[in-house]
Amino acid sequence: MKHKRFALKPVIAFVSMCILAIVMLYPFYYMINTSLKSKEQYFGAPGHSFSSWKNLLKVLPVGRQLLNSTLVCAGAIFIILIVSSMAGFALAKLRSKASPIIFVGIVGAMLIPLQSIIIPAYINASKLNLLSGYWGAIFVYAALGTPFATFLMTSYFRGIPDELIEAAVMDGLTYGKTFIKIALPLAVPAIITVIVLQFIQIWDDLLVGLLFIQDENYRTITVGLGALSAGRVTDIPVLMAGSLISAIPAVAVYLIFQRQLVNGLTAGIGK
């Protein structure tokens, strides 16, 4: 009798995990299934078709918007990597009395919610003519990503021995050269973590893109989709096709770089 109870426990655990897996995967099933129906099929007619995918291309410039999303992500991540790796290196390896203040100044900005600054930032950007192309959004995303990226880079560089940097300087390298030739190559794992975290965050964002990209031709896919749904496009299968295509790149990045994403998330817990 006791034996039987012991064999039952893992089975119950397994079954409940399976049920939860269905709950978590349901949106993907729903998107795939619904996008493969025409409007009539969605309302009960039998069978599947690609007609909603064809209609999607008519209401949403998918290719252009995927390109826009890629460019905005690339631009913002590029800026984040440059400024946060430099600052992280400085805060970990080139310490002075000013370092703690600088650290709080950059990393402490994590406490500022996007919604708290978005109105003045929007007005500033419009005065600086940053709303017509990609640049307004790129700069705002870069600024929002920099505090946490700097935190990650600083703690990563702290793990690199001081002797390595000192030896390079003793050999006559400038701090700039030491940074580029010695420190940066060692920081590749942290750089990948920053890229993955920021890519998913920026790709999936609606609010900044909605406000800081005024020209429809420059809209990212997530903003395009959000605008489509707010415009009350009632063709659900078309919306689901759009949702699916916008989700695929971020999901792909997740599947490939899952470990780095988890590292980035849990880095905030500290020691």
Binding site: Y26, P27, I112, Q115, S229, Q258
Partner: protein, 293 residues
Amino acid sequence: MKTTSALARQRSRSGVIFAIPALILVAAFLGIPIIQAGYFSFTEWNGVTAIWHGISTYNHEIHDPIFWRVLLNNGYLLLGIPIAILFPMGIAFLLNEKVYGWKIFRSIYFLPTAISWVVIGMVSMRFFAQEGLLNGLLKSFGLGFIKTDLLSSEQGALFAVGITFIWSMVGTNTIIFLTGMATLDQSLNEAARMDGAGNFRIFRSITLPQLNRFIQFSFIITVISAFTALFSLIFVMTGGGPGFGTTTLEFFIYQSAFSRGNFGTGAMLGVILFFMMAVLGIGQLLLMRNKDD
């Protein structure tokens, strides 16, 4: 001696120079705007001209019932937080027992973290709709008489947003607790078992204290998300409605400024949100520092 101090000086100078680009970026797009928000929160501002009103803007706002209605919505969402933390903790415990296929389950549960709120909102809206899966499930369990259109009532819509929020936090919080459980010291459990402690006793006196840091972290992440991450979800799912049913503080900021053109009010609400989050963040910091001593 002279050379080392010259070297040290050069090093600290480089240290400041290297940090300048990050400082400028953060100052220009976060630092200056939060100060501007502080200034404009005392004004009536349409984006072009601002009229100074002083503290009376705040005074006026806290006497506005809509403001409290909005904060109440935030409060209701906070009620979901215990579930959003305890449920994933239970999942993490099961996964940590190395259930068959636990690595795959872990990946599946974390997957929604990669999809945007826009997509989640769109699917969730269909799920809760009159002809959606929820009503279908209720019907198949013989509960068809409950059939509801949750999104059409104020409380119902907020409930639907809350459920979606909890669903989307499952992955993140499960991962946090799995990380925590990997750090548990198993020898303590064995020692306690030797001393005759039961499962519950071990959990309460040995496991929970070791997980404290992770519970705190997941709490902070979940509260911050509830206050600042739901804009897109609400934008897509309900547009803040019906009425003010699902308008949370962060959504109210957007509405005030960009739907009604009251940029001053929007800035003020932003300042209030900032202080709420800052108190939370600083409180967390103090709590952790006390532990370290």
